[in-house]
Symmetry: C2
Subunit: 195 residues, 2 copies
């Protein structure tokens, strides 16, 4: 059975994901990637097919990771909304200086790929849609738990959450406004409850 692959696909994809998230697809060269994941072109292209293929896998992994992170916050919280609140604070405040970017990689992707028929544009839409479904399920729970009244549907709450969360992350992608984050996140969740 000959030789075995020497790299761990998971950790390689994670490293690539970090670099793509930070620099974007077009600004990341294959040589940047080679260094970041410590693989030579031949191995990369045999494993992922193309730069696009590696990016594709990276973005999917990013979505999974984000869901896993939310799950982790939910399991340590007394309610869905408290879990989401802790997650949002963690992303915007605590990981501000150690994250590849303040802006969600899905949002960056959706912003970068303009050509409506391109593979990566479609991918970014699909991942965003998938995440919206996930969020909707969470708000369904929140409604069933009585945390929220049902003046809005779960999907509408999910949409509102996404707009607020993306808006805030974009706003805090700059230096010297960190002290504003906490109150604005507080305001966001007050609004959700009062909708």
């Amino acid at each position: 059975m000959a030789n075995k692959i020497k790299f761990e696909r998971e950790s390689v994809v994670r490293l690539a994901s970090q670099l793509f998230w930070q620099k974007g697809f077009h600004a990341t060269s294959t040589r940047d990637l080679q260094e970041a994941i410590n693989m030579r072109p031949g191995s990369i292209y045999s494993a992922f097919g193309s730069k696009e293929g590696l990016y594709s896998e990276s973005l999917k992994d990013y979505t999974l990771q984000m869901k896993a992170q939310i799950e982790s916050f939910l399991s340590n919280a007394d309610s869905v909304l408290e879990g989401l609140h802790a997650f949002v604070e963690h992303v915007i405040i605590e990981t501000k200086d150690c994250s590849p970017s303040a802006i969600c990689m899905l949002v960056k992707a959706n912003s970068e790929f303009a050509e409506k028929d391109a593979n990566l544009y479609e991918l970014s839409l699909n991942q965003a849609a998938e995440f919206e479904v996930y969020l909707t399920q969470l708000f369904e729970q929140a409604i069933n738990n009585g945390e929220l009244n049902s003046s809005l549907t779960a999907l509408e709450y999910a949409r509102f959450f996404q707009v607020q969360f993306t808006g805030l992350r974009g706003y805090f992608n700059r230096p010297d406004v960190t002290q504003l984050a906490q109150p604005m996140i507080e305001q966001m969740f007050l609004l959700i409850k009062k909708l």
Copy 2:
């Protein structure tokens, strides 16, 4: 005094701005630009110095244009909030299919330039800050006119507006959700008045 320049700087910058806005800085090649603005490399580099120089001028022009557009809506409206409301609806709904991108060029720029010391990153921050000052002045007016109570400062209203507006534009940068735009914009302005 020898020969005269044959291009109109304003319209050239506007054309470049459209292309940069659509494709982003890194995905736009100088040959794309040559075709779009109908100039040869020598002329471009003598007039703008570099691709970065042309982008820089394009982004500044974009900010000016956006302000001018808001001014135009304000002069046709009975109040600041009505003017802003019409502007937001125009940007998100009416120009959805004829605009280079659903996402604000300033936001795209802020998302694309990751390296904290790069010129274009600094530029995107400065332009965003400048726009926030402008918005704050508008909300100052709105407060003075009695359109808003002063439970928040003008700056806080401006921040809230930016978060909502960017969040919404990001959300509507995808097909088949157009019918949601109107009610969500309505909701945004209801929230502003109730803050």
